[in-house]
Amino acid sequence: MSEQDTSLLPSGVTQNNFDQAVEKFRALLGDENVLLEQQQLMPYNKIMMSVENAAHAPSAALTATSVEQVQGVVKICNEHRIPIWTISTGRNFGYGSAAPAQRGQVILDLKKMNKIIKVDPVMCYALVEPGVTYGQLYEYIQENDLPVLLSFSAPSAIAGPVGNTMDRGVGYTPYGEHFMMQCGMEVVLANGDVYRTGMGGVEGSNTWQIFKWGYGPTLDGMFTQSNYGITTKMGFWLMPKPPVYKPFEVIFDNEEDIVEIVDALRPLRMNNTIPNSVVIANVLWEAGSAHLTRAQYTSEPGHTPENVLQQIQDDTGMGAWNLYAALYGTQEQVDVNWKIVTETFEKLGKGRIVTQEEAGDTQPFKYRAELMYGVPNLQEFGLYNWRGGGGSMWFAPVSEARGSECRKQAALAKRILHKHGLDYVAEFIVAPRDMHHVIDVLYDRTDEEETQRADACFNELLDEFEKEGYAVYRVNTRFQERVAQSYGEVKRDLEHAIKRAVDPNNILAPGRSGIDLDTYKQS
């Protein structure tokens, strides 16, 4: 069996020091939980970003099974200055996958900490460990016939609530803003202390998953998208299962319709007539999700031409924009809200409404309806077959939920992507006031020239959006440092001051969101 190339070490760590740390890891975790062989590490190194895999190769991976072991790992890392990159399920795909931000970092994989500690069907919350997947929770809820719904992102069953929430991911139900629904977390700090947020510090408290704020400063948000601690437990609220659920789609034929769609939709989201995280997907997102491929329509290089997009719409009945939403509640509530929704779109004079009864089992309606009701599926992975080649980087700028702004962002993104010969594959995820404008930058990693174009394209997207005052809410590990720059020096200075206070040895995920004591303002 081949062990990892000995030249692959964490930055600044000598071989001797690394070997000593490995021996301690083995004593703490057992040999089977200290992975050093090439074939053990390779599945952690499958990336979709526009660089060689080597740039994100880990030197080792550890699996821990308890909070005490995580504390032990942190202690050893402090002793030997070993940087660790923590993952829960490692399934954020176009946001970086399981690979570490920097070559040589040791992965701490918490997949074996997978206990569902509690699901309370009365107070409607769950408390779980980081390795718990949505699929595991879904099964638990079904087996116990609990009247609650999950909210998850499109990888659904195979992803997990802790990782997704800590990355501030979103889902598609009324509980789709996951960090908003988070309530109470347990965090192992770099000094080994175990900190519980909110009411969690009160001995005997039964409100840890009930009341978010506790007393004094509320620090939960500090641990999301950061490297200030390792989350070992997290609570979150579950939506009570409604008696009636009515998903629907509204299909719009023209790209310019986005202005009217958003302006008509916003009041319905703000006044909670439509309570869930609505999606407005463009034709290529729809096509990929329906498992169509680009090769079925064209073999021309570059971006997919407009006439082909129109052909796809004509062949499939998909729109240039496709809005998916749902109503939840009693029959009376749903009836009233349905009347408001249909009247709104009738008044708009455009948009074809499709109901569940009309759509039947057709895709992509079916998988969208399932996601909005907390039923897992893997349908959206079809996007990876649209162009093929294994490259996927999600560019996710935040937009006002204002039609003109969405049109402006869509046009800007499309222009830049097309300039680089790539497709605009996008969806807007609609909150009452903001939109997550999620664009899947798909490209072919077997083509070095195209990979370089994708890299240049992503940089240009960041640059040009920044000039307009836009920034992304989340990004893959290749571009974390660049995105951190968009948010300004004062914020970065504060983040590094906190880092120095809570992790002076810089052992926890250096580089996460651009926070790295070894590199920030060191040159």
């Binding site: 081949s2 990892q4 190339d5 030249s7 692959l8 090439q38 074939q39 053990q40 590490l41 390779m42 599945p43 190194n45 499958k46 060689e52 895999n53 080597a54 190769a57 880990p58 030197s59 399920t89 490692g90 399934r91 795909f93 996958s97 399981a98 997949k111 699929g135 879904y138 099964e139 079904q142 087996e143 069953a157 195979i158 659920y245 009515k246 491929t293 090769a295 073999s299 569940q356 309806a369 399932e370 009701y373 039923v375 897992p376 599926n377 893997l378 992975f381 079809g382 996007l383 990876y384 077959n385 162009r387 093929g388 080649g389 294994g390 072919d444 990693r445 077997t446 083509d447 070095e448």
Partner: protein, 228 residues
């Protein structure tokens, strides 16, 4: 709407227990025989998709290992969870395959969470008589890229190949050959099948030479070799 959540749950459970795939049952691993002379005594399962089921990949794989079991796979949730359950089982096995990007992404990720070992991930693009390959592999695949390159060069199939060795500090290896003959557009798939089926064992001969079929294998595919 009445979304039948129970059916999804049952699908997961059945998938986990029986390994249901594409309406057929995964072959019982008890019935999968070890291949003599392969240097590894574990049974070999080859996962294929709709596009690769009858492809040169299978021809090549069978030439190296006539006893490998072929398993069609798609990326339905129950199918994937069934596969993960199999990868987690204590039974030693080797899983190789050539799948579309979506399915392969899931298979490789599930291999990671199941604690399986991965020796080879290949990204392949075949179009207009040319093929491009991006390989990430371990020391077990030493020589494979050169063998693939030699064979494609010998039959005149145009290709480019980039090979990274997992964790290595060495620069990636880049190989290429011009297209001189359009008669073997699927040779890359046959050679990949052959190399993966014989990974870890002796490779006494070259992969079989395959000629163009009526429906050549074009598009994007991912190959892999996983051990449990």
């Amino acid at each position: 709407m009445n979304v039948d959540r129970r059916s999804v749950l049952k699908g997961m459970a059945l998938g986990s227990l029986a390994g249901l795939t594409m309406g057929a049952t995964l072959p019982s691993l008890g019935g999968v025989q070890a291949t003599p002379g392969m240097g590894a005594d574990r049974p070999v399962l080859a996962l294929v998709g709709q596009g690769t089921r009858h492809s040169a990949f299978v021809q090549g794989a069978r030439a190296a290992n006539s006893q490998l079991q072929l398993q069609p796979l798609d990326n339905r949730l129950d199918v994937m969870l069934g596969l993960e359950s199999r990868l987690r089982s204590s039974q030693s096995m080797r899983v190789m395959g050539l799948l579309d990007d979506a399915s392969a992404s899931l298979v490789i990720d599930l291999a990671r969470s199941a604690g399986a070992r991965v020796n080879w991930i290949g990204q392949h693009m075949a179009e207009a008589g040319q093929s491009r390959h991006y390989l990430l592999n371990t020391g077990m695949a030493e020589g494979c890229a050169r063998q693939l390159s030699r064979q494609l060069h010998a039959c005149g199939a145009g290709f480019t190949l980039n090979e990274e060795r997992q964790g290595s500090a060495a620069p990636s290896r880049q190989l290429a050959g011009p297209a001189r003959n359009t008669g073997h557009p699927e040779q890359w798939a046959a050679s990949i099948g052959y190399l993966l089926a014989s990974l870890g064992g002796r490779r006494p001969a070259m992969a079989p030479l395959v000629t163009a079929s009526r429906t050549p294998l074009t598009g994007s595919f991912v190959s892999f070799s996983i051990e449990t």
